[in-house]
Point group: C2
Chain length 333, copies 2
């Protein structure tokens, strides 16, 4: 209770400087007109007293917090860290502070975070969480919080969305690969509750195979390196060939390592592709063929869209990133 009790307030500054608090306010916000003399005096006493305006009171008075809420499932993925970093850099530039809401992949937590975002009074929100859909965004939007949503088609008055297109690449890859002579059978790594992005890729994968009349496999895997590695060491006792599409670098690396550690050759026997590629795709050996979207750019773009939304001048309410295929040595082509 005494926590902030001894903070210097604008009133104390006013008194010490012998002016009214209105004048101090003017000096702080460089608004209105103040004599150079009094301005100096006020600034001196501000420095002397170590006064810092309370963002709380300012926000309450102006209805602006300069806070942006960011909802993510977890900070623990490299691509999300990159995304976060992009947001942070532009946020810093534009004078916004980030408030982080991490849902830890739980639908329940995600809903509770939506509530928190609303009560937190943020000026805007950026959502990159597969647990949250159109309805949830509509909810947050009904409280008049401009929102940018990543990887979800949502629309509304104050809503922008940034689409991540990995699935076109999947279709294309399947098509060209299956067209090549004596290709291996392709396997898609299914992750339970892997989210929209992976689901779309899986659907594209299946659809294209069906269209081509080609056979394929879907194999379940855990969203963890060590678990998947162990599973595939077992798997490769019976299976000696295949072309695997995996969600992330670490999953792809798990399969690749399991293959090489089982005496199989990559890419001759086993080919592996990582869908959401990061810089680690180039670090592991063999290097991973992967689809790539610069998630830092996605973060930046999201933040730009949001500030445009806040300034009421967003023209394109949808921005689309298409992944590019970066060939590594984990595939033949």
């Amino acid at each position: 209770m005494k926590n902030l009790k001894d903070r210097v307030t604008i009133y104390q500054v006013a008194q010490a400087a012998g002016v009214s608090l209105a004048t101090v306010s003017r000096v702080i916000n460089k608004s209105g007109s103040v004599t150079e003399a009094t301005k100096q005096r006020v600034e001196e006493t501000i420095a002397a007293l170590g006064y810092k305006p309370s963002a709380l009171a300012q926000a309450l008075a102006t209805n602006r917090t300069t806070n942006i809420g960011v909802i993510i499932p977890s900070a623990n993925y490299v691509y999300i860290s990159n995304f976060l970093n992009g947001i942070a850099s532009i946020g810093r530039e534009k004078g916004y502070v980030l408030t982080l809401f991490s849902t830890s992949h739980s639908r329940e937590e995600a809903l509770s975070m939506i509530d928190k975002v609303i009560t937190a009074h943020v000026d805007g929100a950026i959502i990159f969480d597969d647990q949250l859909g159109q309805d949830d965004v509509a909810r947050i939007s009904s409280y008049n919080v401009p929102t940018v949503v990543i990887d979800a088609k949502v629309s509304g008055e104050k809503i922008g969305d940034v689409l991540l297109d990995y699935d076109s690449n999947v279709s294309r890859l399947v098509a060209t690969y299956c067209a090549s002579p004596d290709h291996k059978e392709m396997t898609f790594l299914h992750v339970h509750n892997g989210g929209r992005l992976l689901d779309r890729c899986e659907r594209s994968f299946i659809k294209m195979h069906q269209k081509l009349g080609a056979s394929y496999k879907i194999v379940n895997c855990d969203d963890s390196y060590s678990r998947t590695y162990a599973d595939f060491v077992q798997y490769f006792k019976n299976t000696k060939t295949g072309y695997f599409l995996c969600y992330r670098d670490s999953i792809a690396a798990a399969i690749m390592n399991a293959a090489t550690d089982s005496g199989l050759k990559v890419p001759e026997d086993i080919e592996v592709v990582s869908i959401v590629g990061t810089k680690y795709a180039a670090i592991v050996r063999p290097t991973l063929s992967s689809f790539h979207i610069d998630m830092s750019e996605v973060g930046k773009r999201s933040m730009y869209m949001l500030t445009d939304l806040l300034n009421q001048n967003l023209v394109d309410k949808t921005y689309r990133f298409e992944a590019s295929f970066v060939k590594g040595t984990s595939t033949i082509n």
Copy 2:
């Protein structure tokens, strides 16, 4: 200005429910005593109107924001993401929201972030940033903001610190390695502005070598995978052997890859150790020998310390994590 203008306020709820706003406040905070009947009525109208209390106004009135400020250089490093995730998980558990201040390695930004932390009225702060030292923490502390600092010895009334000890491991490694027959010469990778943690390791490295009267090398390198990789492809044209100590996994991997791509054998010709090891140490091949501290645990511990600090019952104001050596195949022993 109209941004949040149409938010439902406690007053509107009171009016709609036919009670005073004081009663509504009691219902919200479950404080004081309210008749079950009126309580129900109030809760219904709250739901009907979709009322959400304003954390801003609450904070202003109570002097508590339930916000924790986190200062980091960047979200872009795996070990920092892990750290962040640890903080977030405990924060969620304890009902705190995280406000992120990223300094992007700039001293200037870091100082500005200190100011922002103060104005932001956070209940507490966690600092993991090499740009910030004792004086800066004292500054933030003078505003009565309980603070936990990572990897810096600071002390004060409302300050806790979490120490990361990698350097003891460095000393020990150097000692035992140099004691082994026909060992290679050790090289420490110096990163310009690499921060306190790396500096300490470097000092330990040098000190132990001097003590043993052994020769060693210090080589500058860039804090980027691709740059370091390129540099060392050049480097290995003349140098064919060595034992390298690198800051992070990606730097270590860069050197390791440069070595193998130059036809050198790891660990026979070139041995590599990553100081701040993450899960990627086990993913790359050869696997990286590395020192390891679970940064998620560091985050959790920091958050626990901070909440104890907030509840005035922190006993141990210092917590120390010692790294453990995890042997990979990038070194012989």
